[in-house]
């Protein structure tokens, strides 16, 4: 019991929210492209570029927010390249996404070497991290539960506020509706004179915006440094969550919270002396298990249908030309 208390407490929940934020942002970004009918595997690269250029911008300008803007701009550039190749030139979206991911990985490493002469990571150099927002009155109102709503960086708040905003966007705005129509039934959009190309460009750029914010959160949020491949597969996890949530903001939130919780929990476990490499796999194992369970749940239906059709076949075989089983 004592160990459990130590493992699961307010600090863990607060940590969960913190670790959820980047993957939530990038997944919400991917929600735009998913809804618009684009399979965007390039989230990882956009996020990584966002993280790197946020650090660069922060060093150059000495401002965390200018750094965030730089990170977003870089992610937007990647998103634009993706849109040009996929939407305008109809290149294969998986190939383009992968290529841009590899480009982002290689580019950040070479630029790091060129600018800072180091490999591995950028620490110091006057990186300015994002400030933490202390919500006035939180302490008085919630007492020891205050860390649940107060003391996060602005991007964390943005991530969670974005969820209801996206729900509203998809249900009540014309652009949100058109993004869904373009993804679900392009021929309907075409018949109504909605430009599929334009809508897909907008969706790609909105995706880049949020992926850039997610990247900036990684490098300027709770740790102010950039390391090689620091997105460490979050973009891919986001893709997995998107596939299973179909880009619905609330389902995306649920999937990301699960991943964030596992991430925060694994950090906890590390302090208990578990081997760190093993512990680092925990969030991915949890996420994969969840996805497996979800897909397995969908399975019985397929099995049932197969069984039903086999039975039908067997019974028609037995009494050869039998009476029709589907009366009107």
């Amino acid at each position: 019991m004592e160990i459990l208390d130590k493992l699961i407490n307010v600090a863990l929940i607060a940590a969960t929210l913190r670790t959820t934020a980047p993957i939530l942002l990038v997944a919400l970004g991917g929600s735009f492209t998913t809804k618009a009918g684009i399979f965007n595997i390039g989230l990882e690269g956009q996020m990584l570029a966002g993280a790197f250029f946020a650090v660069i911008g922060s060093i150059w300008t000495g401002s965390a927010f200018a750094g965030v803007a730089c990170g977003v701009a870089a992610a937007l550039a990647f998103a634009l390249a993706f849109a040009v190749l996929v939407v305008t030139f109809r290149a294969n979206e998986v190939v383009v996404g992968l290529a841009l991911n590899i480009l982002a990985g290689g580019m950040t490493i070479s630029l790091m070497k060129a600018i800072f002469g180091t490999r591995g990571s950028i620490v110091g150099h006057g990186i300015v991290g994002l400030p933490k927002v202390q919500i006035p009155g939180a302490q008085a109102l919630l007492g020891s539960w205050a860390p649940l709503i107060s003391g996060f960086t602005p991007i964390v708040y943005v991530a969670f506020i974005a969820v209801p905003l996206l729900v509203l966007f998809y249900n009540r705005t014309r652009l949100g509706l058109y993004i869904r129509v373009v993804g679900e039934k392009p021929e309907a959009a075409e018949a109504l004179g909605i430009s599929i190309t334009r809508v897909r460009y907008i969706a790609s750029l909105l995706c880049g915006l949020l992926a850039g914010l997610a990247g900036a959160h990684l490098s300027l949020g709770y740790i102010t440094m950039f390391t090689e491949n620091m997105s460490s597969g979050r973009g891919f996890m986001a893709v997995a969550i998107l596939i299973f949530s179909n880009g619905d903001p609330l389902k995306v939130l649920a999937g990301c919270l699960l991943f964030g919780f596992a991430d925060a929990f694994s950090l906890r476990l590390q302090t208990f002396g578990f081997p760190s490499y093993l512990v680092l796999t925990v969030p991915y194992v949890v996420a994969l298990t969840a996805l497996f369970v979800l897909s397995y749940q969908a399975r019985p239906k397929i099995i049932k249908e197969t069984l039903a059709s086999m039975q039908k076949l067997l019974s028609t075989d037995r009494n050869s030309a039998s009476v029709d089983k589907n009366p009107q």
């Binding site: 705005t173 509706l177 679900e184 309907a188 109504l192 050869s320 009107q328």
Partner: protein
């Protein structure tokens, strides 16, 4: 019938809603519409009837701005109009309900109806107002539908109502429906007709495309018959009888250019006993068909398209399950076999839609003549294809079937319709099968190729093959068949000997009149 034609115009100075003059449309060498004149009065239900490929849909697509005519002019409400695109047509008060619906499954009915012209308040979509207006419209015209329901959960019949509502909400006064009943159950069709009558009761105009005689007789005020891209006639429905209509559709000047033949009937090859099958809507499409095809005999199946012939062919070739009954091919029941097993058992199939089921249009002539026998010698040895032998064989077939092509490596899509059909015949007729199922062999084929195809079918008959020939062209059946069975509404109405094929008698049966009821 609703409004009497010729009732006074309600909203405009012109009594004519639509006037098309000398519309011609060509696709390459093929003339889809050949100088068609069409006048539709305001406030009438005007049916456009004709066989598949008669040019009905092309004509309506031109009217709605989806296609541009090569020649001819369009007047809407008495004004000459260039219908550059569908937007222009909608602006002029036209609305079209297509055969294939374009609805978004995850959106509600109301969202689909207002898609592209959303009602907004403070920049946000006002769902309540959209639902309200959808409900009003659906009540007013008897288009029963719950505006809040998700479209993905609804039946095809209701989807059609939504498409009609979409057209109404955009202010259409003249509504074009392309084969609206093709996807409906009889009950839904009746409801649709009531809705159409309520439209004309409000002074609107309805144009609907069909190849179903019954419904045209039931609901329309005026009928225009098209055949092979030309207009045959426009007549008030009340002055027409069903078999007159049939004769106009399939051609009055049937040429009974009967092929000479020797009687050489052998034993029964195909025996069909009380066969039933359902169509894609799960409605009975073949109802208790029984017949026999003997060796050295051509049995024709006549009927207006859509009376179960397609489904019958699909059952016999294993592409559609039979719901009841048997079909014995040389002692084996086809209804229990897969398409491949049926072919092994001795079926050659010339499918009605050659581009979908007859050929792979991107593959070469050689590859197309190979299909279905690639595992056999001499085309392959030890599981490896012998392309030399395949090309050699294809070359021989190109010669013997007179396929006009550069060589056996030519992709099939470069050939004309007639030559593509010859590729199918060349493959199917050299398979050694005893039973040939031939569906619409000369659809969309030029006269020269038609003759060649007919010659080839007669050669197969002389070789002792049993042939079932399905065709909507009466003259083709009269020229080739030893016996003609007439299908109507899934049933075989009767049989006529090919030697005394009587256009009137066949026409009556095609229109659903049983020969026994007919006074002798």
């Amino acid at each position: 019938m609703s409004n009497a034609p010729g009732s006074p115009p309600l909203h405009s100075t012109s009594a004519m809603a639509v006037e098309l003059a000398a519309i011609t449309k060509r696709f390459g060498a093929f003339i889809a519409n050949d100088g068609i004149d069409l006048v539709v009065r305001r406030g009438e239900i005007h049916a456009i009837i004709g066989e598949n490929g008669a040019g009905k849909t092309t004509l309506m697509n031109i009217l709605f701005g989806l296609l541009q005519p090569d020649e001819g002019s369009i007047r809407l409400n008495g004004e000459t109009t260039v219908v550059a695109d569908p937007a222009a047509a909608i602006k002029a008060g036209l609305g079209m309900v297509h055969q294939h619906f374009k609805l978004v499954p995850s959106l509600s009915v109301a969202d689909n109806v207002f898609l592209g012209m959303e009602i907004r308040r403070h920049g946000l979509i006002d769902h309540a107002a959209q639902i309200e207006r959808t409900r009003d419209l659906s009540k007013r015209f008897g288009l029963h539908v719950d505006p809040t329901e998700r479209v993905g959960l609804l039946s095809v019949g209701i989807e059609q109502r939504i498409e009609i509502l979409k057209v109404l909400v955009r202010g259409a006064r003249t509504i074009i429906l392309d084969e609206p009943t093709a996807v409906l159950t009889p009950q839904e069709s009746r409801e649709l007709f009531q809705t159409l009558r309520s439209f004309v009761a409000e002074g609107m105009t309805v144009i609907f495309i069909s190849h179903h005689l019954e419904e045209v007789m039931e609901v329309s005020d005026t009928v225009t018959v098209l055949r092979n891209g030309r207009k045959v006639a426009t007549r008030p429905t009340s002055e027409l009888s069903k078999d007159e209509l049939v004769r106009m559709m399939v051609g009055r000047e049937v040429s009974f250019d009967r092929r000479p033949r020797a009687a050489l009937h052998g034993g029964a090859v195909l025996e069909v006993k009380d066969l039933w099958a359902r169509d894609d809507r799960r409605l009975p499409a073949v109802r208790g068909a029984s017949f026999t095809v003997r060796a050295g005999e051509v049995v024709g199946i006549a009927g207006v398209a859509g009376n179960g012939q397609t489904e019958l062919a699909e059952v016999l070739s294993g592409l559609r399950p039979a719901s009841h009954g048997e079909a014995w091919l040389k002692g084996r029941d086809l209804t229990m076999l897969s398409p491949a097993a049926i072919r092994e058992a001795g079926l050659a199939h010339v499918p009605g839609d050659r581009m979908v089921r007859g050929v792979d249009r991107n593959a070469s002539i050689a590859a197309n003549t190979l299909m279905g026998r690639q595992h056999r010698a001499p085309w392959s040895r030890g599981g490896v294809l012998d392309w030399k032998a395949i090309a050699g064989n294809a070359g021989a077939l190109i010669k013997s079937f007179d396929i006009r092509a550069q060589g056996s490596g030519d992709p099939v899509k470069r050939l004309s319709g007639g030559n593509i059909q010859k590729v199918v015949l060349a493959r199917e007729f050299t398979n050694g099968a005893d039973f040939l199922l031939i569906d619409q062999p000369t659809r969309g084929v030029d006269i020269g190729a038609q003759e060649a195809i007919h010659d080839e079918i007669m050669r197969q008959r002389a070789a002792g093959r049993a042939i079932l020939l399905i065709s909507v062209q009466l003259d083709e059946l009269a020229a080739l068949a030893d016996r003609i069975l007439v299908m109507f509404n899934g049933r075989i109405m009767g049989e006529v000997a090919g030697d005394d094929a009587d256009e009137d008698r066949i026409g009556m049966m095609m229109a659903g009149v049983s020969p026994e009821l007919e006074p002798a």
